[in-house]
């Protein structure tokens, strides 16, 4: 089966290089999130794939068809790539139904397909409204419906939830994800919000300095990051200096297990939720003093100082919440990740 999107060695420079030989694959029906800090080239990639800009080098194939490459630049309207921009960008002069039907052939614009797609995004019956009569979340779902209506080969979403307030965001995210999957659409979603990237995606592609440094399932990117940069960018991380001896590593937290065989000085990545304060099951521990604490309700973060002066952060249930100055025992659960330093 041909890939929905295949990007190879894509290069683009404006004043400075933005994309430096980027590779990306999207399998049919997959939702891939591009995760990276602002300015890493995510949005540029979307614009090149959509055809709003042309590349300096490399190729883009959509559903097996070359749309961008040396001497080839298909105009946006012939790529069958739909976009959902930030803040939706609904046509303010058209009704919801006319927005959704915008990309359909003239005869079908008012037909059943529009109602069908509106139903898919959970907005059946709202076709007669004007965009400004909808809530922010509804507008965003109309934008998704408009993208899905013509049955595109690929849907591109550029930070589609950033304009929504935090309470609404998680819900709209889940609804959009469900709509994309129900339509069987292949999609690329750009975000700088790691929680969003991890919770929505089938595959997370971490972008740094114009390249994809790791593309894998969300849990894999989190538990087996490709390098120290990915580890610290995706999720919170405690980085400790350590000395590797085979499948174990000596750290200020004691001897910890690692997945791979390593030797010599390493950087050890420990997730805050791996650290257990005053464990009751015989987990090996070291002494620590609580330096500071932040309470979040469902859990809390403790900043702890080890005897050698190293500071680490532990995530604890909201019920275990010792005050600063308390002496505690600290253990580490599960394998840790280490990178030769």
């Amino acid at each position: 089966m041909t890939r929905a999107l295949q990007v190879r060695g894509l290069r683009k420079a404006y004043d400075a290089p933005v994309l430096a030989g980027l590779d990306l694959d999207v399998e049919p029906g997959q939702l891939v999130t591009l995760l990276g800090p602002s300015g890493c080239g995510k949005t540029t990639l979307l614009r090149l794939v959509a055809g709003f800009d042309s590349a300096d080098g490399g190729t883009v194939e959509v559903a097996g068809r070359l749309v961008e490459g040396p001497g080839a630049h298909l105009p946006p309207e012939r790529r069958r790539v739909a976009v959902v921009p930030q803040e939706g960008a609904l046509f303010p002069h058209l009704s919801v139904a006319a927005n959704v039907g915008f990309g359909l052939p003239r005869g079908q614009r008012t037909g059943r397909r529009t109602e069908e797609v509106l139903e898919l995004v959970g907005l059946a019956g709202l076709g007669g409204r004007m965009p400004h009569e909808l809530s922010g979340g509804q507008q965003q779902r109309v934008a998704v419906a408009r993208a899905l209506a013509p049955g595109p080969s690929l849907v591109l979403l550029d930070e589609p939830f950033s304009a929504l307030d935090a309470g609404l965001r998680a819900q709209v995210r889940a609804e959009v994800r469900a709509s994309l999957h129900a339509a069987g659409a292949s999609a690329v979603l750009v975000t700088h919000d790691q929680q969003e990237a991890l919770s929505v995606a089938d595959v997370v592609a971490v972008v740094r300095e114009g390249r994809v440094v790791q593309a894998a399932a969300p849990w894999e990117v989190y538990s087996a990051p490709a390098d120290l940069g990915v580890a610290t960018f995706v999720g919170e991380a405690v980085v400790l200096r350590g000395e590797a001896v085979g499948k174990a590593v000596d750290t200020p937290l004691g001897r910890l297990a690692v997945g791979a065989v390593l030797h010599g000085a390493v950087d050890v990545v420990v997730r805050p939720e791996q650290l257990d304060v005053d464990p009751r099951d015989g987990l090996p521990t070291v002494a620590a003093v609580v330096a500071d604490r932040v309470f979040y309700g469902h859990d809390a973060l403790l900043r702890l100082r080890l005897p050698d002066g190293t500071e680490v952060t532990a995530r604890t249930p909201g019920s275990a919440f010792p005050p600063p100055g308390s002496s505690v025992r600290l253990g580490c659960r599960g394998d840790v990740v280490a990178f030769a330093g």
């Binding site: 959509a50 709003f52 309207e77 930030q86 960008a89 013509p150």
Partner: protein, 498 residues
């Protein structure tokens, strides 16, 4: 792209041909005409009038702007509107009004022209300065006060410099307006450029002097535009830093409220009251003796007809230029837009001359026919329409057009289905503005109108010329009434949106 190029060429052609015509009898002849004492005096007279009117407008404009935006002037909100109204009075209507009461104002000393132009033009300074005062962050003045400056020092050292772009822009508008005005100087019989050019064109067999003088006037206006661009300098006038600016606290006037009221009330009473009184008085007198509805109606219909035609053609031609400039930066679109803006700096009488020469040479059959008149309107008022199209097309986010492209629409379909429908209200407002301006236009209409065509403006001009004020008044009154409708549409519509 192609229609935009065609429009820009159309806007440029008359001016190019004016140059050709002026030099037709040889560079020596042209230089000889320029190098005469009469020409030098003409230049001096025109510049003196422009300088005097501009200075008076700057003083009145700043004073009224400050009083209506920053002080507790009684009835402040109403004054804001009333003080800007003289903008709607055509100079030839004001000139007719003053002359009908004080015939002694006319003549070569220029008092009449000065009074009429000042009372009609000071809003060009008032409006941008008042806007700048409203925008200026009062925190700057407060900081200056806390550093030990008095209120007046703070105004002079902090606020006034911020007003500089507004003053320069407003002052330039006034100077350009005075140089290109035909109605006031011709009715007040002051020999400024436009009147001399018109007389030279209509009385002499040889039209080369008119062309040469027209070219000189264009040169003077271009120098003014260039000076204004330079005066802005490089200083940044926008606010630096974050946070919403507050509105300034209003200064209580105390005992000075009475003279302040007298100033604002006096200026508006003179600017609006004199024309209004003249219209009412002479119309009433005329009605009892010789009101001829049989002549009034055709003139009104002609005015409306040519204004509608002018607005339609100008707007249609403006769409490609405006959309192109708003959507695609780059050198050519910018150049095309600049070219279409040229009419802004050109006096109506010069454009009329240029169009006459061009039509006589290229399509003599159309000389003094409707298409030629419409062409003059296009050259003169294209900037208004292009500005409106550009602004409204620039307002909709480019993301909308990108989405439309991705949804399978070709660039032409995007224009038809997204860009134009979204810009339609703004383009409509531009068309109304052109309509309004064409209706009030005098010199080009006077020179280019087809035989037997009389608009309200040309009738008013003719009757005033023979001092038959009672006969002139109904045309003026009807013109003001008819102009009020589109003006009202414009203000209420823009009010709704803001």
């Amino acid at each position: 792209m192609l229609p935009a190029v065609a429009t820009a060429l159309l806007a440029l052609a008359p001016l190019v041909y004016l140059v050709v015509r002026a030099l037709e009898d040889g560079v020596g002849t042209a230089a000889g005409l320029l190098w005469r004492e009469r020409t030098a005096w003409l230049l001096v007279r025109s510049l003196l009038l422009a300088t005097a009117v501009t200075a008076a407008c700057l003083v009145l404009g700043v004073a009224l702007a400050w009083l209506t935006t920053r002080t507790r002037l009684p009835g402040r909100r109403a004054w804001v509107v009333v003080a800007a109204l003289p903008l709607a009075v055509p100079t030839y209507v004001a000139a007719f009004a003053w002359l009908s009461f004080l015939p002694g104002l006319a003549g070569s000393r220029g008092v009449g022209a000065f009074v009429v132009l000042t009372t009609c033009c000071y809003p060009y300074v008032l409006l941008p300065v008042a806007a700048a005062l409203r925008r200026a962050d009062p925190a700057g003045e407060e900081v200056a006060r806390s550093l030990g400056l008095t209120a007046w020092q703070a105004f002079r050292r902090v606020t006034l410099p911020q007003l500089r772009p507004a003053l320069a822009a407003g002052g330039l508008l006034v100077a350009l307006y005075v140089l290109s005005d035909f109605g006031a100087v011709s009715i007040m019989r002051f020999d400024a450029f436009t009147r001399v050019i018109y007389n030279s064109y209509s009385s002499a067999f040889d039209r080369t002097p008119a062309a040469v003088l027209g070219l000189l006037l264009v040169a003077v206006t271009l120098v003014l535009v260039w000076l204004e661009g330079r005066s802005r300098g490089r200083a940044g006038y926008s606010r630096v830093g974050q946070g919403g600016p507050r509105t300034a606290a209003l200064v209580p006037l105390g005992r000075t409220a009475v003279p302040a009221l007298a100033l604002v009330g006096g200026v508006t009473a003179v600017s609006l009251g004199v024309p209004a009184a003249a219209l009412v008085y002479w119309t009433a007198r005329g009605a009892s003796t010789s009101l001829d509805a049989g002549e009034l109606l055709p003139a009104a219909l002609t005015s409306l007809g040519v204004a509608a035609l002018g607005a339609l053609v100008t707007t249609l031609l403006a769409v490609p230029v405006g959309v192109l400039a708003a959507r695609r930066g780059g050198r050519l679109p910018r150049l095309l837009e600049r070219a279409s803006y040229l009419g802004h700096a050109l006096p109506g009488i010069v454009v009329a001359l240029a169009v006459v020469f061009l039509s006589l040479r290229v399509v003599p059959a159309l000389y003094q026919e409707l298409p030629v008149l419409v062409l003059a309107y296009v050259v003169l008022f294209l900037p208004l329409a292009v500005g409106a199209v550009h602004a409204s097309a620039a307002q909709s986010p480019p993301a909308l057009e990108e989405v439309a492209r991705s949804a399978g629409s070709s660039p032409a379909a995007v224009l038809r289905r997204v860009t134009l429908p979204l810009a339609a209200p703004g383009i409509g407002a531009g068309a109304v503005l052109v309509f309004l301006t064409v209706m009030k236009e005098l010199p080009a209409t006077l020179v280019l109108r087809p035989l037997g065509y009389d608009t309200l403006a040309t009738r008013l001009w003719t009757e005033t010329g023979v001092a038959d004020y009672a006969a002139a008044a109904p045309y003026a009154a009807l013109l003001v009434l008819l102009s009020a409708v589109p003006a009202w549409v414009l203000t209420t519509r823009t009010g709704e949106r803001s």
